[in-house]
């Protein structure tokens, strides 16, 4: 087993009258036990100018990550390395056809991933401007 630790801190001094500060740490484990995850795609980096869907993580049982392991307790990190610019450009992150949300330049996301057929993690850039992303899955 391995020990992989993910930490988040959300903070704001002025979104409410009193400040918000939320911190949480998770150790990434296999499904239903406390054994640390042992597989990772490794950190990947891609630059694309496509405006159609691009598959970041293929979950297929044939040729995809599901071929290596049942993805019941996967975790995914994605960050958009572009500068924010005027705030109009982003990539839409999808699970196959279902939109999760938009990653603007500088944004990141971290989420559990069930994987399986039809659950590829995909992006759709909002413009033909080159967009650079880094991403990694643990499972």
């Amino acid at each position: 087993m391995a020990t992989t630790i993910a930490t988040i801190t959300l903070s704001s001094a002025d979104i409410m009258d009193n400040s918000i500060s939320i911190s949480n740490t998770a150790t990434l484990t296999d499904a239903g036990n406390d054994t640390g995850v042992t597989k990772t795609t490794g950190l990947s980096r891609v630059t694309t100018s496509a405006t159609s869907n691009v598959v970041l993580l293929d979950s297929a049982a044939t040729g995809g990550l599901e071929a290596q392991s049942t993805m019941t307790s996967g975790k995914v990190f994605i960050q958009n390395l572009n500068a924010r610019g005027d705030g109009s450009k982003y990539v839409t992150v999808l699970l196959q056809a279902v939109v999760i949300g938009r990653l603007y330049g500088g944004d990141w996301m971290f989420f559990p991933w069930q994987g399986g057929a039809g659950n590829d993690v995909e992006i759709t850039p909002s413009s033909t401007t080159d967009t650079t992303l880094e991403y990694v899955a643990f499972y």
């Binding site: 391995a2 020990t3 992989t4 630790i5 993910a6 930490t7 988040i8 801190t9 959300l10 903070s11 704001s12 001094a13 002025d14 979104i15 409410m16 918000i20 949480n24 998770a26 150790t27 484990t29 499904a31 239903g32 036990n33 406390d34 640390g36 042992t38 990772t40 950190l43 019941t72 307790s73 996967g74 975790k75 990190f77 960050q79 924010r84 610019g85 005027d86 705030g87 109009s88 839409t92 699970l95 279902v98 939109v99 999760i100 949300g101 938009r102 990653l103 603007y104 500088g106 944004d107 990141w108 996301m109 971290f110 989420f111 559990p112 991933w113 069930q114 659950n119 990694v136 643990f138």
Partner: protein, 153 residues
């Protein structure tokens, strides 16, 4: 405007032959702005029971169907039994399982994919294993409408 930051770090010294250390910090801004921070927030803590049904944890707002409003969501499963988990879904699509102690942070597009005011982009939750699972959540959002459900009485 407000300034809200989200910081992430991930480290492992032994999942690969070399250590991994990732970190990132973002500021939560409105769409189409260079530096206007999100100003609205909702949060909660709920116990989710195993019932065979999913529940709307964070309902998508009808007012956001056709908007480009920007939102971010944090969800944490505060249970401690490692066997327990909840499924987190959008539009009936399971994103993944949040096991006890897990957390997630995602951007969230509330736009209704069918534009029929059926709030299909609700963020849903279902407890699959174990007793009631305590889940904490917070949503930061940009909106030009009241981010509350209309009163029916």
């Amino acid at each position: 405007m407000a300034t809200t930051t989200a910081s992430f770090s991930l480290s492992s010294s032994d999942i690969l032959s070399n250590a991994i250390s990732l970190s990132s910090t973002s500021t939560l801004y409105n769409h189409n702005t260079t530096a206007t921070g999100l100003t609205q927030v909702k949060s909660g803590r709920v116990d989710v029971y195993v019932t065979g049904s999913s529940f709307d944890l964070i309902p998508a707002l009808a007012s956001e169907e056709a908007s480009a409003a920007n939102s971010y969501v944090y969800i944490a499963n505060k249970n401690t039994d490692v066997a327990n988990y909840v499924n987190i879904s959008i539009y009936n699509e399971v994103i993944g399982r949040l096991y006890a102690g897990d957390w997630m942070f995602i951007p969230w597009e509330q736009n209704d994919p069918d534009s029929d005011n059926s709030s299909k982009n609700d963020i849903e939750i279902e407890a699959l294993v174990g007793g009631p699972q305590s889940v904490e959540w917070i949503m930061f959002t940009e909106s030009t409408a009241t981010i509350l459900d209309a009163s029916g009485d």
